[in-house]
């Protein structure tokens, strides 16, 4: 097997990880599987593309790739904005749809509502941008030797540094800050958290915002590495769920680890079996976890 698998797998794992953290947090705190999470990723990618196009039209030269990268100043500036917008989308969806069903209906009808929302957002994006793939940049990137015979394009190297930093940031946020403590408290026991003075509603909004922002980051990564298309997030949904369940629902480090395993598995499958079978890896991982240890790596058996 070509060691290049490691570069591809790590990149793939990082972008799955950014999405899977959002899935695992919403799941553990709101107690439902959000099928619209993939669309947050798609939305984030398209929003970034639009904002970057706007910025580079306003500021001459900001649309050019920086140094060896295809990533432009306009793109870098638009990422935080797009993360904020995607967080806004998640919050809007929550207040329009999910909040109305919380506590009232069976938890599973929230899942169904998220499934309907997923379909509607995706088709809406397809309506606005058609299904033709789009790109942040048309620059051709040439892979440069890294070490031990590994090669990576400048963009890939940048992402290999930025994505882990982002994930470490999330981990610190969840483990070292008051916000993270409230999130964990609400996921353990909402009633008890409320009694202890945690603002449960605010915590729920924070979880949506965090999940949406990270999904946008994942979308930008996917757009840089592959392409931007209306189904990009939906096709990533099964890997996200597989990573979250493999890691143990509710555990952010578990989701990172699960994402890394799914990501590396997909990269190996592309090399050993064929790129067309890539999407099957997440399904096999999911079935294997359910057969062997349904609570996941970091989860406690129920």
């Amino acid at each position: 097997m070509n060691p290049q698998v490691i570069v591809d797998g790590l990149l793939n794992g990082a972008l799955i990880g950014l999405g899977a953290v959002g899935v695992t947090l919403t799941y553990s705190i709101l107690r439902f599987a959000n099928f619209a999470h993939g669309e947050f990723i798609t939305f984030g990618a398209y929003a970034t593309m639009l904002i970057a196009a706007g910025v580079s039209a306003l500021v001459i030269g900001s649309g050019d790739g920086l140094g060896p990268f295809s990533i432009s100043l306009a793109l870098i500036l638009s990422v935080p904005l797009s993360m904020a917008l995607t967080a806004g989308l998640a919050l809007a969806l929550d207040s329009l749809l999910f909040a109305r069903l919380r506590g009232k209906a069976e938890s599973i009808s929230v899942v169904m509502a998220s499934f309907g929302a997923s379909m509607a957002i995706r088709a809406g994006i397809e309506f606005a941008f058609t299904s033709r793939p789009a790109y942040f940049s048309r620059d051709l990137q040439i892979a440069k030797p890294l070490a031990f015979g590994l090669r990576a394009t400048p963009d890939q190297m940048a992402l290999l540094i930025v994505a882990p930093l982002l994930l470490i940031g999330v981990h610190l946020l969840l483990t070292r800050t008051q916000i993270g403590r409230s999130m964990r408290a609400v996921s353990e026991n909402p009633a008890l958290a409320r009694v202890a003075g945690v603002d449960v509603e605010a915590t729920i909004r924070l979880v949506w915002a965090l999940g949406g922002a990270l999904a946008a980051a994942s979308g930008v990564m996917l757009g840089l590495l592959v392409q931007i298309r209306p189904f990009m997030g939906f096709d990533l949904l099964l890997p996200l769920f597989a990573a979250a369940i493999l890691g143990g629902i509710g555990s952010a480090p578990g989701a990172f680890l699960g994402a890394l395993i799914v990501g590396l598995g997909e990269a190996m499958t592309v090399q050993l079996v064929g790129a067309e079978w890539r999407a099957g890896v997440a399904f096999l991982v999911l079935i294997a976890v359910l057969l062997i240890r349904p609570s996941g790596i970091a989860g406690r058996p129920t």
Binding site: S107, M119, E126, T130
Partner: protein
Amino acid sequence: MSFDLIGPIAYASFFLIMALINGIVCLGLNVQWGQTGLFNVGIAGFVAIGAYVSALLTTPPGDGHLGGFGLPVAVGWVAAMAASAAASAFVGALTLRLRSDYLAITTFGVAVAVQLVALNAQRLTGGAFGVAFIPRPFDSLAQTPVLYDLANLALVGTIVLVLYFALERLARSPWGRVLRAIREDERAAMALGKNPTRYRLEAFALGGALMGLSGAIEAHFIGFIAPDDYLSSLTFQVWAMLIVGGSGNNLGALLGAGIVWALWTVSGLLISDFVPAGLEARAAALRIVAIGVLLATMIVARPRGLIGERAMVSRHVEEE
């Protein structure tokens, strides 16, 4: 019969047959969700399993893919039900003991996996080209299209009627009552000595069998299947049908199938007639947005659907 009636009759019977085939999936989903509360997001996958199993068993030998056993259509249909039921039972056995979302996620995975196999296992499924020359019931009548359509309509209509009465009877049977008891209060049902996992597994497999049957019937009516027929939009359509019609109610399932299929067909006709060719894909996307919004609005505003579930008692009580 005057000649200009043939077109409308052919069209009406084609529409009805498709609506009834959708009605069968919807009845299957009603057993799973409406009566038992099991969430299936991979309907398209279970329909596809039925369609492919029946097609591969009944097509004439040797057209580039495995199978082609030339078996009778009825054998194909029974095998289709068995295969989809087995796949459902497997998924159920893995997930029904866990949280309800795990079932949803796994069924979603099944749909992805089935789509992948249909598309890539060329030797088995014909790949993107699909399977053609699927034998059609009443093919000998194909010379006179009206007779052919009416005969098929009668066949599918009879199947739906039989299924409807069987499912209604089942819903009133002790088995159906246990299902609803588990759905409403699992602990109480367990206290009465019922094993929720077993009942749920049975209901999930029964629903899966109906989905497989509907896939097989459609495959044999159209005569051709391809992976594109079983995308997630199909799953979504069936959900819209059941939620609009009224989950928990078999008549509601059939009514919803008719209404949503009519909306789908009419909007499709309008798009192809009035929308300029370059914008058709966009209009089709907008149609899915509309159904998505309809589904989400129904869930929030009228979760019971048009005709919701009725209180159901044993038929022995009603007879008194």
